[in-house]
Symmetry: C2
């Protein structure tokens, strides 16, 4: 079978591809495990060289997800699964509403229509977000039964994607599911346009001996999930039987809540254990970022994800140690 | 100022136009009452002659709401308000998914974009529906804080419209509000493709001496609102201050819950009082209609609507009497 990952050159996309390469099989539209012979990573820009941890089964293609023909060209086999991760992120969507609508709404619809056009019932896994929640009406702890009240265009388009995943699945157009991601950390590389980017930067930059400029105060709380369990969550939800998920295919992933101060303490502990000299951190509040983050849920519960066998992080220190092991150059 | 009513040749649209003609003014983008000098009724088909109760201020235009240029042509003044009622209905959407997406989703987006393109902050009133609720996760009584779990493509597109109304309003693109209609009765004329069509037919057909064929059993419960209060609800929500509605602009209208049996008893009582000989009723369950209706909320609460001054019906008999007075030929 073939696997298409949109947003495949991003952090989660690449690591999802690595995990699928390692597994070798996924449940196909037949409902039985099938060998994955082709993984297509689609993104607006792709690297010149195949990144580490991938092999000859993996191809990369750059293009515009808001172009219908391009998207239909990706989903060109009936024995296929689609992981739809491509998205304008929260901060980016607040800056450019029209781009967020074109990429997230139109692009998503093209992906869903392309999957619908295949024979059989391909599995479609949509990357949603806890940014579907927010605002003054939001309860302190959000979960699978909480009303979606997005406070960003990003969150609005993610909610729309979830609604479409549910309706396309109900209609038997494909077998969809939505993975509601909390903030995923620790992303390697450079900061990105997501308002949550600092949740990785507060650990990543000091570990690299660089300065971290924090756009929020140290008492801000964030619901976080380590990237290993996030990637595993995509795979587990792909593998779960659609009927067992139920009519509402949007599942909140597990998370743990930390303050920024706790994250700073954590990186100090793990750095000391690894003999790493930390770079400095500076708090320099950015009102735009602060406002977006203040609208997010700080606590979530994930009983359905847990019932489906999805794992939460063992500890903050474990996620930091994983990052050092997976992404930092050996010292 | 100008008023555009999409779906303006429909029952609610026409009666809304009549109510605005009678009022003469609405709150304009300025926030002050303005004289309405032009009312445009846009629909896929419009009558040859101006219907009763309208005057020279009213024009009608037929066209396709999924055509962007057409829609931008309607919203051609800055001193404007838009009531967006055009929609493929529940039964129709289940039969033709693509049509529902094109009319309800694409059409709605064109309307919202056209309003956004005007200078100032036009008020946009979107006709949503309690069909945004449904399924096994739905509580017995739905309301403004209930999670939307639509079980029809119609309900899905209405939920998406509400989300866009909220986000366009949050962004300051226009001043939107969504009116969540329960089943509105008693609609004059012929049955339509809405799965709820029988809720009018069960009263209208017998009063006309015609046979009513009921697609559901007599113990089925429906949350209903009379058309007079529905039209008044649109006007009141248009007139309400956006800030007072809050960030979530979707407001459930008041309703009362009746069984089909109670509706049959009601029409018997009111017919007797008016010396009307009733036509026969036959129960002939239609599994498709039964399934759609079974997915709907039977009870709703509307504290926000009530706080904004929107009225509920006095009684079932009053709504039936209104229908006889407003729409039946004098005997």
């Amino acid at each position: 079978m073939k696997v298409v990952i949109t947003g495949g050159a991003g952090f989660i996309g690449l690591n999802l591809a690595r995990a699928i390469v390692k597994r070798g099989t996924l449940t196909g539209p037949s409902g039985r495990p099938e060998e994955v012979d082709s993984i297509l990573l689609f993104d607006q820009v792709v690297p010149d060289q195949l990144p580490e941890g991938l092999d000859e089964r993996v191809t990369m293609q750059a293009g515009d997800i808001s172009d219908r023909d391009t998207v239909f060209g990706l989903v060109d086999r009936d024995d296929i699964s689609v992981f739809h991760l491509a998205s304008v992120v929260s901060g980016g969507g607040e800056k450019d509403f029209d781009l967020a609508m074109r990429v997230n709404l139109d692009g998503g619809r093209h992906v869903f229509e392309a999957a619908r056009a295949r024979k059989g019932l391909p599995r479609v896994v949509f990357a949603s977000s806890v940014a579907v929640f927010g605002g003054s009406a939001m309860p302190k702890t959000v979960g699978d039964t909480t009303k979606q009240t997005p406070q960003t265009t990003y969150g609005m388009t993610k909610t729309i994607g979830e609604l479409m995943i549910n309706d396309y699945s109900r209609k038997g157009f494909f077998d969809g599911r939505s993975v509601r991601l909390p903030t995923i950390f620790i992303r390697p590389g450079k900061p990105n346009a997501a308002a949550s980017s600092f949740a990785s930067g507060v650990i990543r930059e000091p570990l690299a001996g660089e300065e971290c400029i924090l756009p929020v105060k140290a008492d801000v709380q964030m619901a976080l999930l380590g990237y290993r369990n996030a990637v595993e969550g995509f795979i587990r939800l792909h593998e779960a039987d659609g009927e067992s998920i139920g009519g509402d295919r949007a599942v909140v992933l597990p998370s743990r809540t930390y303050t920024v101060a706790e994250m700073i303490e954590g990186v100090k502990r793990v750095a000391a254990a690894n003999n790493i000299q930390l770079g400095p951190g500076t708090v320099k509040p950015d009102p735009v970022i602060e406002a977006i983050v203040a609208g997010w849920a700080t606590h979530s519960e994930a009983p359905r994800a847990e019932a489906l066998g999805l794992s939460n992080d063992e500890s903050l220190d474990r996620v930091i140690q994983d990052y050092i092991d997976d992404f930092m150059p050996p010292r």
